[in-house]
């Protein structure tokens, strides 16, 4: 077990290293002059100003030096300085984190609450009208662009109630009720979409388990349908569901990018888009690495959890 974890961690570190190279190279492929892009708000940047700025931002150095510098900085816990804000990147990223983390957790909860029960019911009532309805409902969530759902929610609210959720972050300590309202709608929009995968996996896992011999035996022994489902089937179907919740996390972040934009929530995901458009390398590089770390960690956690939950799985 210990060697397995060590192995997995080593691979994760290697992966992250590779990812840093990919992101670094990708960003520098951008066409056009970086200074023109960064300072487009000024209109025109003359050549002498341009040279001075490149030097100031440390972009006059060769790429490999810039890369080495970035990695060295990371190891010293320094995320560099935002080009756009002229402030330490961490100072800008830090306040954005709680918003996205809270939204991600709430969305996952919504996804589970929507996905697991529908998946179970759908499996138990296989091929019934209820099954079909639930599957269509759930797949519809997967098929709708989440930003569109967000747009429609806002439009309906503003035209019918002349009200929309607050557009700047409301701290839970400030006004708990408003805080909940603010997060509820976006997490519904994102969670509904994510629930489809969970529903699908719950359903097929349940179906497989329901067909197992011991379940048939339990039924034959006269235990009620509900008891069988809850006591035996669900326990065994939990594994694949956990897996999906873990994988879901990466999928979720994609959905957050656009949803945060539509609901004007000051989170990491929305900010990433802005920073990409501004070519604010220190911010983009570090945010993408952060997302990568979260994804890799959540995959790792799921793997380990799998071992804990299912003694049949042996770590080689």
């Amino acid at each position: 077990m210990k060697t397995y974890i060590a192995q997995r961690l080593a691979i994760a570190v290697l992966t992250l290293f590779g990812m840093s190279v990919v992101i670094f190279v990708l960003l520098r492929m951008a066409p056009g002059d970086i200074v023109d892009v960064l300072f487009s708000a000024a209109g025109y940047v003359n050549p002498s100003e341009k040279q001075a700025i490149l030097r100031e931002l440390g972009m006059d150095k060769p790429y490999w030096q810039q890369y080495v510098q970035w990695i060295t900085q990371i190891f010293h816990g320094d995320l560099g300085k935002s080009y756009r804000y002229d402030l330490p990147a961490w100072q800008i990223i830090r306040p954005l984190l709680p918003v996205t983390i809270e939204l991600a957790i709430l969305s996952t909860i919504v996804a589970i609450v929507l996905g697991v029960p529908t998946g179970i019911v759908s499996a138990v009532r296989q091929d019934s009208l209820l099954d079909y309805t639930m599957r269509v409902f759930s797949l519809a969530g997967l098929s709708m662009p989440s930003f569109w759902l967000g747009m429609v929610i806002i439009l309906v609210l503003v035209s019918w109630l002349a009200w929309i959720p607050p557009l700047t972050y409301v701290k839970p300590t400030e006004n708990f009720w408003l805080h909940c309202v603010q997060f509820l709608l976006p997490s519904l929009a994102v969670g509904y979409r994510s629930s489809a995968l969970i529903m699908r996996i719950t359903r097929s896992a349940m179906l497989e388990v329901l067909r197992e011999d011991y379940i048939r035996t339990a039924r034959a022994k006269g235990q009620g349908q509900r008891a069988v489902v809850w006591r035996h089937a669900l326990k065994n179907a939990v594994l694949p569901v956990v897996t999906v919740v873990g994988i879901e996390f990466a999928f979720l972040i994609g959905g957050l990018v656009v949803t945060e934009t539509v609901f004007n929530l000051p989170g990491v995901a929305r900010f990433l888009v802005e920073a990409i458009l501004w070519r604010d390398y220190p911010i983009v590089q570090n945010l993408v690495m952060f997302i990568a770390i979260v994804v890799i960690l959540s995959n790792l956690t799921v793997d380990l959890l799998y071992g804990v939950l299912d003694p049949r799985v042996r770590y080689a």
Binding site: P31, G32, D33, D36, V37, L38, F39, S40, A41, A42, G43, Y44, V45, N46, E49, A52, I53, E56, R84, Y85, D86, L87, I92, P95, L96, M151, I154, L155, L157, V158, S159, A162, W163, I164, P166, L167, T168, Y169, T261, V262, F263, N264, P266, R270, F271, E274, R279
Partner: protein, 537 residues
Amino acid sequence: MRPRLLLLVAPVVVAAAAVLAAGTPAVSQAPKTGGVLTVAQREETPQGFAIHETSTVSTTWPAMPCLSNLVLFNPAKQQESTDTVIGELAEKWSWQDNYRNLVFFLRKGVKWHDGQPFTSKDVKFTFDMLREAPDAQGKLRINPRKDWYANVVNVEAPDPFTVIFHLKRPQPSLLLMLASGYTPIYAAHVPPAQYRTSCVGTGPFKLKEWRKGEFIEYVKNPDYFVKGRPYLDGIRYVIIKERGTRVAALQAGQVQVAFPGDTSKTTAEQLKSAVPKMVITRAAENVNENVIMNTKKPPFDNLKIRLAVAHAIDRRSLNQAVHQGGAAIGVSMPSRPWGVWGPPESVVNAMPGYGKPADEKAKARKLMAEAGFGPDKPVKVEIVTRAIAVYVDMASFIVNELKQIGIEATLKQIETAQWHAMATRGEYQIGANLTGIGIDDPDANYYENFACNSPRNYTFYCNEQIAALVDKQSAEIDAKKRLAIVLDIQKKLEDEGARPTLDWRVDNFAHWPQVKNLIPHNNFYNYGRMQDVWLDK
């Protein structure tokens, strides 16, 4: 003050004692104090509060409440002109020596937000930095408006409360440039770079918090130099990037004031029908839409083809299609009521492209034929535009018009960030462009966009005769004579197809009725100070 100076000052002092308080509020109601104003902000402010390092209303609008100018356009007067300039940090000012020297007498007892006293040193610091004087104390990272001060040879601070601008030649317009929202005074004791992240000003509001990507919040400056101002306790600029969300936010009352230039005619109608008491004011932005043609490259080095393009585009139908009839027709300077320098409608209608659509198209085709092109021998070009909806809408219309006279244009979108660099380097044939001008003034417009060596002269159109006229009007002190020269320049530019104007954009500035005394000017760079605004609750 030195006696010699005093002697000079006496005859021409422009009385400007009634500072800022000037102008009666639109509603005859006693202003109330208190309340926090919420204002929409369309994007994160570029470069923070460093107005001198950007050229966008996205910076000037949310940064203006923090800072002060020497002089400012009277917030209460919608149409800006020399007559509406009032004192801000300068109590009085005076032109000397036949408009060769401009003397400012500064307010006493003004404090920066950090408590330091404000003196002439700060003024000299700011303008030496802007004109990049060899002995300047401060240096900007980017200096987009250096050309405004090309005519200033020296800025002298003989005592702590007097500043003298020495000019090469008379230039009455300098005063207007100093009154623009683009010309705040920076503190000499603060490094200019610091304005990108924080703000030390002398303005009516102090920066409380800037939460990146979320909002900018100000509180009342209790030490503001105008007694009893500002009325508001604070202002909060809420950053809303998504346009639909922005409209919804205004409608739902989450913000009380729209972002300037943001409300199209259709949006205004929609807002009005949802919230009938919404206050909507039509106001020019001093931004025009124009066609840039590279006069150094074929086919647009040919005057006939440039003129054919000018004739071919039906301005009124473009206004109808792209702006639902909401924009104003005009040439290189906006006409009344949107500006003071443009020719009257009858004169505009005689210019290329402003007559009857069918006649104009016929003229265009004739010009094309004279240049050796026709329906069987079309000109093929690439038309560039910025990858922003308003640009693309306009460009799509132009493509359609050009097709009718035998110019087959394919649309190519340039990423916003590369647009200026591409245009400055002339890496295009023809383009659909937007030009914003800091003030409604011929100097600001012609030196920036039509002068032979200006980096913003995207068309490279260079005509010595017109350049001489531009210099002549700039130095002309007599307003009437100056107007005559400016009208002549406008006619010549249109006849030369230098950079055909398509329309002047008009905003439908919207705010809730409880917001009082916020009067949009015919130029959206200059009315963001907010010291007279109050809330009626």
